[in-house]
Symmetry: C2
Subunit: 415 residues, 2 copies
């Protein structure tokens, strides 16, 4: 069962959670001086519109009409009730999901790539740089750059560049350029840290170029709140008052923030972050100021972190391999407004296979983490003999991750 | 701009074009006796329900409720106006497409895989066999088999099995089993002909097993007419009286038939088939009785054919590499009701790239053929300074065909 929102009812503003936080956010610090950052520190890398959104305390931010026009290529995304999964589990829970896999890049990432490209274009920037691991974010920004006629240069972790050619081809199909990172050491396998360094260095060295980030920052989570706002309108159409729990997987926090932040003001709604046991930032990290990148070039953020030199094992859910978390998500967890749980990857692939064989679609390994928690919540409802309304974010499809499924099916996956 | 049809308005019957043909269809002939086939000849391979649909002259056939329940996992599919492509071309034409890429298997194929699996299950069959080239059909049938709890055995052309592991993994993710064909000669690269032989032989040798075909036959095209019927309802919502032309790519003819057959009775609507210049069945083949497979085990069908021993060059649009065409499509072309055009593959990839960089999604190479013709029709409208309403079938996405895009972008593609 699906609830399609009419295009005319797509939200026209983003939801800002900042006024609803029980504890104020702490400012980012300059990596050199460790003093709070000012707009002038960020302007070589970001357009003023995004810097403004990063610090705004207004309850809503208007979405520009030119951005809405592009988002409408695939939005509003459907809200779907996973009836076949419910039957397979024999649960009294009603399970709903937002299907963000329907975007051109196959995930929620274009929700922020499009406005970021738009604001940069509007301020006269001709070229964007970014980093990418497995390629989800790099392909989303390549797509958005194609739409606005921007050049897009993606520094891709060398190991992924060599092992996962499909996402590179996807970027090139949209006219983006991907190069392996680190650029100055062809024998180095690379990491998100080296790729951020390459991308920031490039952007800082050219007046026509800005840098773009796909998660963690406040303005990125802001852009993603269109997901949760649509879900609220669609749940009402489905006859539900509210979800009992909202679930999303969490790497940097952008898809989780997107679906959950609009529910923060409603204290009757539980919020649940799901992370990999191999990179357990929220469940085992420390809340402290840490660098956003491995090399220490990026600002310090107050967040749950495993340490900026932590190198997560190379699990297949590449999008969840980040040493820190969005300051907003960290804030919510530290105040108890949001819960967090961690799973080893074989358990998440087990859940993903249950999903594929009941609901029919193949989820991204990242999304498999959310599905694992959804199934456990639904089984708990069955155990308790209680109704429960579960909402989660189907953040992306797994069609470019089939080698991971192959490893799992062959019994080669390790936790 | 998109027009979503409410789930409650999904068609509940399939449209049968047979009563609307200006010339009757000729019967299939037995490959041994060359006499018209009877139901008893087909019953070892197909359930009686499908044999009945193959020969029915009723104007509509009811879709079983259990099939509708499953089709609703992704149907109705959106009708979308390709506004950004129109702008990129500067055309006065209005271009609409049905987005069949949103199905779990990423193409229109599940529209028939689901009812075929359902009818076999209903008649007590426990196992299905089929052939697949690049894997689109094999993955669709694996998905449908997972839904109904059937075993699914896919004989996959050995060259594809070895070169394109991703679609094999997709089949296995749904619980299907794929083996390279021919099974008895590991040094043979295989062909659709050898794979059909393996699949038919397997099904004929086991009482619990039937054979399933993904295109060409009347009942397959019948199941696909849900596409064109939905499009008619959605075009009306978009304020269009009728399309001037309906376009689809054509291999066996199932996606083309699906979108175009419901328009056959309206003589003001042009119908256009698009095929590869390297396998020009409709534009350069002969209309005659020929075997459905290379080995001559399958029935003879009256169709445009290049000869059952014709081996098409290995272009990337694997779904269009068939020596013949559906008898219904052949009938429509031979009577002048449908037109046909052929394009070399580089021109279709050029069109696919124009699409990806304006509309944002990456089409299957097969779908790129339809887009090539759409662009040429739109440019002709621009040249003539005339409005025109174009409808085409976006039959599938190209996310598992990115190596083909890589070849094109590297300049390595040959016609």
């Amino acid at each position: 069962m699906r609830w399609n929102l009419p295009v005319s009812e797509m939200p026209t503003t983003w939801f800002n959670v900042v006024p609803h936080l029980s504890k104020p956010l702490e400012p980012p610090l300059h990596p050199g001086t460790r003093q709070p950052l000012g707009p002038e520190d960020l302007s070589p890398l970001f357009p003023m519109a995004l810097i403004g959104q990063e610090v705004t305390t207004e309850p809503t931010v208007e979405i520009p009409g030119e951005v809405i026009d592009v988002l409408r290529l695939w939005r509003p995304t459907p809200l779907v009730r996973a009836v076949r999964l419910e039957k397979a589990l024999g649960t009294p829970a009603r399970i709903y999901f937002k299907d963000e896999s329907v975007s051109p890049a196959g995930s929620h990432k274009p929700n922020t790539a499009v406005p970021q490209a738009f604001y940069n274009k509007a301020e006269g920037v001709a070229r964007l740089t970014t980093e990418t691991g497995a390629g989800q974010w790099g392909s989303a920004l390549s797509f958005a750059s194609a739409i606005y006629g921007l050049e897009c240069m993606v520094y891709m972790v060398r190991a992924s560049y060599e092992q996962k050619p499909y996402r590179r081809v996807l970027m090139e199909t949209w006219g983006g350029r991907a190069v392996p990172s680190p650029v100055d050491d062809p024998s180095h396998p690379g990491s998100l840290g080296t790729a951020i360094s390459d991308a920031v260095k490039d952007a800082a060295s050219r007046a026509d170029t800005h840098y773009s980030l796909g998660s963690v920052l406040n303005h990125v989570l802001l852009h993603q709140t269109i997901i949760g706002q649509e879900a609220q309108a669609q749940l009402a159409r489905a006859g539900e008052t509210r979800p009992d729990v909202v679930i999303g997987c969490c790497g940097g926090g952008s898809n989780l923030g997107g679906i959950s932040l609009p529910f923060v003001p409603d204290g009757d709604v539980r919020l649940l972050a799901v992370e990999p046991a191999s990179c357990p930032t929220l469940t085992a990290g420390k809340l402290e100021y840490d660098y956003g990148d491995a090399a220490g070039y990026a600002p310090l953020l107050l967040m749950y972190t495993l340490g900026h030199d932590f190198i997560p094992p190379s699990i297949h859910a590449g999008g969840l391999r980040y040493h820190g978390d969005a300051p907003i998500i960290s804030n919510l967890v530290s105040t108890g407004r949001m819960e967090a749980v961690a799973y080893p990857q074989t358990k998440t692939f087990d859940a993903a296979l249950t999903w594929a064989r009941s609901q029919g679609t193949v989820p991204a390994p990242e999304t498999g983490h959310a599905i694992r928690a959804v199934i456990d919540e639904a089984l708990a409802a069955k155990e308790a003999g209680k109704e429960k309304v579960i909402l989660f974010n189907y953040s992306g499809h797994g069609l470019l991750d089939l080698s991971a499924y192959d490893s799992y099916l062959q019994g080669e996956l390790k936790d």
